[in-house]
């Protein structure tokens, strides 16, 4: 029953592999203007992963070494604080998160949790380093993009928190204690 569904899912995205994934990455803000060769290499070295609602992609405190592009579904970014899990942000298709893991070694300071059926493209740190090594001319642009993504995220999350702070009633559902 279920398995046949998964099988179809698999064939659906396996129909175009590198080209589909490059197409997807090319459309993301992070890769706009990056040479198609580089994007293609990323597409080749990345992998797709699916999750179900409630599954954790990132767990606070674990070693960070992967970044994610949302292909389908919604991700919740949360933090553990005083024994509660608080939702900071929701990310939809084409969002890019975990980006800092490509540049630095640290432990995750937040969680990422699937809100519904989720599909992501995963790029790991080593891949990023290897590609940059082969295409040094792309290094500055890519690094800048990663930092830009981080800044955008910070701005959005701050806004989200201030909203919740100013109007606690409005968003009770998403900032709910889990």
């Amino acid at each position: 029953m279920d398995s046949s569904m998964t099988a179809e899912n698999n064939t659906e995205h396996s129909a175009c592999r590198i080209s589909c994934d490059s197409e997807f990455l090319r459309k993301s803000a992070t890769f706009s203007g990056v040479s198609p060769e580089v994007i293609k290499l990323f597409a080749y070295l990345s992998s797709r992963r699916s999750f179900k609602a409630g599954d954790y992609l990132i767990a606070q405190g674990e070693k960070a070494n992967q970044a994610f592009f949302v292909v389908k579904g919604t991700v919740e970014i949360t933090v553990h604080h005083r024994n509660k899990e608080i939702v900071l942000q929701e990310l939809e298709a084409h969002a890019f998160f975990g980006e800092l893991a490509l540049l630095a070694k640290f432990q995750w300071f937040f969680n990422a949790r699937a809100k519904d059926d989720l599909e992501v493209i995963v790029i790991d740190q080593k891949t990023f380093q290897k590609v940059i090594e082969k295409f040094p001319e792309s290094k500055d642009l890519l690094t800048e993009r990663v930092i830009q993504a981080r800044v955008d995220r910070l701005v959005q999350q701050t806004a989200f928190m201030i909203d919740t702070f100013l109007d606690p009633e409005a968003d009770k559902s998403s900032a709910a204690i889990v």
Binding site: D2, S3, S4, T6, A7, N10, T11, S14, A15, C16, R17, I18, D21, L41, A43, Y44, L45, S47, R49, S50, F51, K52, D55, Y56, A59, K126, T127, K130, K134
Partner: protein
């Protein structure tokens, strides 16, 4: 058997007291064989003097036959006696080694602190073996040699008394010279034995400390230590051989004087007709024969000296007495002690000069829990070792239930005291072997009726917090055939639980082996045969399998696969051409980096000529790529739906035609029993060609338990680790299946000295081993030091609840926040007790303990 102290026995003690019957038999056989050695000489004389001289052909035949017969029998008897000698030697050696090993195991600890392990090993192995060769013939050889010697001598005197006595003149000279040379030989031999031992110790030490050696790359340093010894041994050996062959040379020299006298005097007598030619020939033969036993005596003498030197050195090494008796002198039952412990004015010195403990007195009621605390080096470990009879007090008194500890036997202690050392030792073997180490001994000695049941074992594993580790060990193991066959049902039930109850949760993490589904995370080859073939996957097994190959060609799949292989080769070469130097980029292709150049040349060739004009080896290269291609991992190519369907059709055909299995039955689990009977599987598993299909009711004997339960490919490791692993275990527990995994985990091999375990796991295992003994007294020396906080608390909790009131606990405790749960606290400093009492009082006193607690 407990006659005299083993180390005081002489070398000949073993000869006189062991296998006397066999040795007498040996002697008899040798005496008999003597006759057959002299007899041919008499025949020689008669052949010449009688048969030839008197020209009697029939006598000639007779004597010749008798001569040959006697020589043959003598040879056979020699063969028999040699074998018997060896056998007797080895038999004596067995006993010697056994008794000596028992003796060594019981020696006091200080002996082991002084003595290098390598020395003990070399003494017990090579050195003893060398002695055995001597022991076998220790009695028979000298007796027979001397007998033979005099027999031939007698024969010679019988032929001609004057000549006979003359030729004997040389032997007294030899008897003076040879022992002189031998004494020098012995001196160097002693040095050699000692140096060889040092060599063994050096090797043993660097092997034991291999972490340190490799960590510091101190190879040259360690090599240097060895080189010095090797050089020394070389120079000693050279000297040894100079003397050894010196003895041989002098012997030969003296021997050649004999014939000289014989020819001179015997020839003279023969010319003057006082001696027959026949007698002269027989005399010459006898002279040569007399040399044999003489040579044997010399050799015997040499090997006796050699063995004596070695033996003495071995026995001196171990010439210590066990400090405690194993069993009481007067027969009595092993005590069942209550666990009351008292010390009065106890002192302990080492080497009669350094005092480690001074004037220790305390009183512990049965069932009380006592913490020993104090500065490091204050004597806590020493005290705990005295309590377990590992050391012996120098003066004062140390009692358990009013028995002086020194009066108790080792068995009493073994029954009543459990012990956990600071760095516990884990033996090579399984987790279970270690867990039951103490219980097994008690059971062998008849001190407990039965070893703890599997239920109790698992209970204890849980108590010390090893449950998860044990489950992991269980899941990781490839279970031996018999065991797997026995427990198959239970493992298949787990598979069913995953596939039926937890299917939804697992679909994201596992690609199940579904007979009707193309497996994206398995190579095409596995997709086709839908099973495992000869253990780990390797494409060569498929390429070289004729049955598989003919299946591919008759179904037309081969052509499709060759095309696929070519496409993959082309796109890999095109895509990775610029990155060919870096292996990392090959992760998305079935082509290995090492084969890139090979395929590049092949693709070029394939572009020039027709595909089917390629050599079959070349075609195989393409086939290999296609069979290895795993769509879920190798992004270099995308399979279309139609190709997947072709593979699925191929799978169905393969199962039907080659394996004779119906795909639907396979999938639904209608195939109820193992497709092969267990005996066949066993046979096949030993060859490399066992095939096991992925049928739902089929246990995969050459895969891990985890693979068998999940019955699919893990595609999201994190999900399993983070969430699904725990979930599955919970459900298994609900079904009562968990113990079966534990059971397998208990058979996990801990590696040499437990090297496959972490420090914490070793410590927990040692704790479980001690707890499982259920002894009335438990002694722990910083037994939880290498555990994390949670595990420490868990153990502490076990002690405080399960052992309260029924076990006297003496624990050296390093974490002062743990001691409030103890009834009594003894604070030590510089080998003395500086404070004792209950926690509350000591804290209120604001004395030493107060200071310690507030410092930390």
């Amino acid at each position: 058997m407990a006659d005299t102290d083993i180390t005081k026995r002489s070398l000949f003690y073993w000869v006189y007291n062991r296998y006397r019957g066999l040795q007498v038999l040996l002697l008899v056989i040798i005496v008999v064989s003597l006759f057959f050695r002299v007899f041919p000489l008499e025949m020689q004389r008669r052949i010449i003097n009688v048969a030839i001289n008197l020209k009697m052909i029939d006598k000639l035949y007779l004597y010749c036959v008798l001569y040959m017969g006697a020589v043959l029998i003598a040879g056979l008897l020699k063969y028999l006696t040699n074998t018997m000698q060896m056998m007797i030697g080895q038999k004596i050696l067995i006993g010697m080694r056994k008794e000596l090993y028992q003796h060594i195991l019981q020696l006091p600890l200080p002996f082991f602190h002084r003595t290098q392990t390598g020395t003990i090993i070399s003494a017990l192995t090579a050195e003893l073996t060398a002695i055995a060769t001597f022991l076998g013939g220790a009695l028979a050889v000298p007796i027979t040699s001397i007998l033979t010697f005099f027999t031939f001598l007698g024969f010679m005197i019988y032929l001609n008394p004057l000549l006979g006595l003359l030729t004997m003149l040389i032997y007294p000279f030899e008897m003076a010279v040879i022992p002189l040379l031998q004494r020098w030989y012995n001196k160097y031999n002693r040095k050699r034995v000692a140096t060889t031992r040092t060599l063994a110790s050096v090797v043993n030490e660097s092997v034991t400390g291999i972490h340190e050696v490799q960590g510091n790359a101190s190879y040259i340093l360690e090599q240097g230590k060895l080189d010095r010894l090797v050089k020394k041994i070389y120079s000693l050996m050279t000297k040894l051989f100079i003397f050894k062959y010196g003895i041989k040379f002098s012997n030969n020299l003296f021997q050649s004087i004999g014939p000289f006298l014989l020819f001179l005097i015997g020839g003279y007598m023969a010319i003057h007709g006082e001696f027959t030619i026949g007698a002269l020939v027989a005399f010459l033969s006898a002279y040569e024969k007399v040399y044999d036993p003489w040579k044997e005596v010399i050799e015997y003498y040499q090997s006796y000296q050699d063995a004596r030197v070695r033996y003495k050195q071995i026995m001196t090494l171990f010439a210590y007495q066990p400090e405690f008796l194993l069993e009481p002198l007067e027969k009595r039952e092993v005590f069942n002690l209550k666990g009351e412990i008292s010390a009065t004015n106890l002192n302990y010195w080492v080497n009669d000069s350094v005092q480690l403990l001074q004037d220790i007195s305390f009183q512990i009621k049965p069932g009380n829990h006592v913490a020993l605390v104090g500065f490091s080096g204050s004597g806590k470990s020493t005290l705990s070792l005295l309590l377990s009879q590992l050391y012996r007090i120098s003066s004062g008194s140390l009692k358990i239930d009013n028995h002086e500890i020194s009066d108790l036997t080792k068995r009493d202690l073994a029954r009543n005291v459990a012990n956990v050392a600071q760095h516990p030792f884990i033996f090579t073997g399984t987790v279970r072997d270690n867990l039951l180490y103490a219980s097994n001994t008690l059971q062998k000695d008849g001190l407990i009726e039965a070893i703890p049941s599997p239920q109790e074992q698992m209970e204890m594993i849980r108590e010390v917090g090893l449950e998860e580790d044990t489950l992991r060990w269980g899941l990781r193991s490839v279970i031996p055939l018999e065991k797997a066959a026995q427990m198959r049902e239970s493992f298949l039930k787990m598979r069913e639980v995953i596939h039926h109850e937890l299917r939804n949760e697992f679909t994201q993490a596992i690609e199940f082996y579904d007979a009707h589904t193309f497996l994206h995370h398995q190579p095409i080859a596995t997709n086709l045969i839908f099973g495992t073939y000869g253990g780990a996957y390797h494409v060569d097994k498929f390429i070289t399998n004729q049955q598989f190959r003919s299946f591919l060609s008759t179904t037309g799949l081969e052509k499709k696969l060759l095309d696929l292989g070519l496409i993959i080769a082309r796109s890999t070469i095109e895509f990775l051409g610029d990155f060919r130097a870096d292996e990392y980029f090959f992760q998305g292709s079935p082509m290995s980096q090492a084969r890139f150049d090979h395929y590049e040349a092949l693709v070029k060739r394939a572009a020039k000529i027709e595909f089917d004009q390629l050599k079959s080896k070349e075609l195989e290269s393409f086939l290999q790529l296609a069979l290895d291609f795993t769509p879920g991992i190798h992004k270099i190519h995308t399979l279309n739906k139609q190709f997947e369907d072709d593979i699925l059709r191929g799978r169905s055909q393969f199962l039907k035609q080659v394996a004779d299995i119906d795909l639907d039955e396979c999938r639904d689990g209608a195939i109820q029993t193992a497709i092969l009977p267990i005996s066949d599987i066993e046979k096949q598993a030993r060859t490399t060609t066992s095939y096991t299909p992925f049928c739902f009711n089929q246990y995969l004997f050459n895969r891990t338990l985890r693979d068998n339960i999940l019955f699919g490919t893990v595609i999201n490791q994190e999900l399993i680790r983070e969430k699904l692993g725990t979930l599955a275990l919970e459900v298994f527990k609900k079904h009562g299946l968990l113990d079966d995994i534990m059971e397998i985990g208990l058979d996990f091999h801990v590696g040499s000295k437990g090297d496959n375990l972490s420090g914490g796991q070793k410590q927990k295992l040692a704790l479980a081993r001690a707890f499982l003994k259920h002894a009335p007294i438990l002694i722990m020396d910083e037994a939880t030091a290498s555990l994390d906080n949670r595990s420490q608390a868990r153990i502490q909790n076990y002690i405080e609840t399960r052992l309260r009131g029924n076990t006297t606990v003496i624990a050296v405790v390093h974490r002062l926040d743990m001691i409030s749960g103890y009834d009594h606290i003894i604070v030590m400093k510089d080998g003395k007790i500086v404070e004792a009492g209950n926690y509350q009082n000591l804290i209120e006193q604001q004395g030493v303990l107060y200071g310690l607690v507030n410092d930390s």
